[in-house]
């Protein structure tokens, strides 16, 4: 289980995170929403233990896995525990594998695992990420969406207990986006997953818990609805597309229904039902 305690980090000139605290239990599906430049990528990197080497300056607090900081674990242990999938898949391809299948096997090979174990993991992840038909291709010739799935597969082959995805959808077209979402929906239930995103639409219906990162601080407002409809969240992140569109129509029609954060619609079905009721009224 991962725990972030009052994390303050930044570059020499400015602080990016100003006191972030967070606890994630096993198997949780977490979304952290934040505007552009809110510090999502920095937080993602710290959660995954990437930045202990010196790119960022730590002023206070820290990040613990089962009570110990990442620096207390060996690289082998860390690799088998946490994996981060970044925004630009081409940068997250190892540059050491000539084929998709080799790329997936790269991590397990580095850990010195037995031969059969690596082959099993490779074949399972190829299937889980719908990459079998691309197994022999050069990773750098894949489309953006395919590369994204390959990076997820390479991470999964290490059987991590925590997966962090930094804006996995923002650089994909709608078709690739739904492919990636189907892969994420099929992740093993005991793996904790954290997704960072700027857009509430893609993570709605997927996340169990919703956090908001704003100006270097993180908050959770009770439940998902309370978080989504908090005024500061609406001002920076915006409403989900359905809700926003619903409100525009509803404002025009001047329906009598009493709407609050507890019954504002989040899905097409909900929104259509309310609008139909107000029409017939």
């Amino acid at each position: 289980m991962i725990e972030v305690i009052d994390l303050h980090v930044g570059f020499a000139s400015s602080d990016v995170l100003k006191g972030v605290s967070l606890r994630v239990a096993q198997g949780e599906r977490l979304a952290i929403l934040g505007g552009n430049g809110s510090g999502k990528s920095t937080l993602a990197g710290w959660l995954a233990g990437w930045f202990s080497g010196g790119t960022h300056r730590l002023t206070a607090g820290g990040c613990l896995w089962n009570g110990k900081p990442w620096d207390d674990y060996t690289l082998v242990e860390r690799a088998a525990t946490v994996q981060l999938v970044g925004q630009f898949p081409a940068q997250h391809i190892s540059g050491r594998a000539f084929t998709v299948a080799e790329e997936i096997a790269f991590g397990p090979e580095n850990l010195g695992l037995p031969h059969e174990e690596i082959v099993t993991r490779r074949d399972e992840t190829l299937a889980a990420c719908h990459l079998e038909h691309l197994a022999g291709r050069d990773p750098f010739t894949l489309s953006g969406g395919e590369q994204q799935r390959l990076v997820i597969a390479s991470a999964l082959a290490l059987r991590p207990k925590l997966m962090i995805l930094d804006e996995p959808f923002s650089n994909l077209d709608p078709e690739a986006r739904s492919h990636t979402l189907s892969v994420l929906n099929a992740l093993p239930a005991d793996v904790s997953v954290i997704i960072m995103d700027t857009n509430p639409d893609t993570v709605l219906g997927w996340a169990n818990r919703l956090f908001v990162l704003h100006e270097g601080k993180i908050s959770e407002f009770g439940n998902i609805r309370a978080t989504l409809f908090d005024p500061t969240v609406i001002a920076t992140i915006g409403l989900p597309a359905v809700t926003r569109c619903f409100l525009e129509i509803e404002r025009g029609s001047g329906s009598a229904e009493n709407l609050s954060r507890d019954n504002l619609p989040l899905t097409f079905v909900e929104a259509a039902a309310i609008l139909r009721r107000s029409r017939s009224a």
Partner: protein, 246 residues
């Protein structure tokens, strides 16, 4: 005004990608180019800004043909904002980056600095003027690329997925820049995957990937289920919500 007349193009050894494509973007008009990956959206942009030469037809700006001219000459008429700003940022300071374009026109120093501060002001980057372009956040870098084009004050603007990955605040900033440019009489063409964004901002749509690319007004395009299916484009949220209600 931007006009495309009977454009024909094929990559070497491949079938025709465009055959007789015509479209007109009047002054103060926004055209959205949509279609799935590989339908030729980026190729169309390259034919407009001169990176590729059309085999047939021509591209006209303000009634004058620009086809066959050098890329750097076409740059005095058409500005392009590419998807990854990292491919163009070379300066050590934000202001130097924005000043590059106007400097190509040989303007006097005071006019250049006036254009630079105006462009940075419109993109909310004025307080970052002395920073290193690569120290900016991803959204700020995108807007720096936009500012570099705005500072050139060109009649035609091409934007490739400029809305991608932006949060609400930055999206609204982009929309207000688009609106201001439209009011100023610019011809704007944007490649866009986000149909909600197209629905809110564009006047007409050019859908690629179907049988004959035609320029269709936005409401007519999103109501035409046949064309939508042909180019595999999702309907914007308001249209889908109305569909759910019936």
């Amino acid at each position: 005004m931007l006009e495309v007349r009977d454009l024909g193009f094929a990559y070497q050894g491949q079938p025709l990608l465009f055959d007789g494509v015509s479209t007109t973007v009047p002054d103060g008009h926004i055209l959205a180019v949509v279609g799935r990956n590989g339908a030729g959206k980026s190729t169309l942009f390259k034919l407009l800004n001169g990176l590729l030469k059309p085999e047939d037809g021509e591209v006209l700006v303000g009634g004058k043909s620009i086809s066959g001219r050098k890329i750097s000459e076409i740059a005095a008429h058409i500005g392009t904002v590419f998807q990854s700003p990292e491919q163009q940022l070379f300066a050590g300071r934000v202001e130097e980056e924005v000043a590059f374009g106007p400097r190509q026109f040989g303007l006097p120093a005071n006019q250049i600095s006036e254009r630079v501060s105006d462009a940075l002001n419109r993109t909310s980057l004025l307080d970052q003027i002395a920073r290193h372009p690569l120290d900016l956040s991803a959204a700020e870098r995108r807007f720096l690329a936009i500012a570099s084009v705005l500072a050139m004050r060109l009649p035609v603007l091409l934007l490739d997925e400029a809305q991608r990955g932006l949060d609400r605040v930055w999206t609204e900033r982009l929309e207000s820049i688009l609106e201001a440019e439209r009011s100023a009489g610019k011809s704007i063409v944007m490649i866009c995957h986000d149909m909600d964004f197209v629905e809110r901002n564009a006047d007409t749509v050019l859908a690629l990937g179907g049988r004959t690319p035609r320029q269709i007004p936005v409401p007519a395009f999103f109501s035409d289920t046949e064309v939508l299916a042909e180019v595999s484009v999702e309907r914007p949220t308001p249209y889908r919500l109305r569909e759910f209600m019936t």
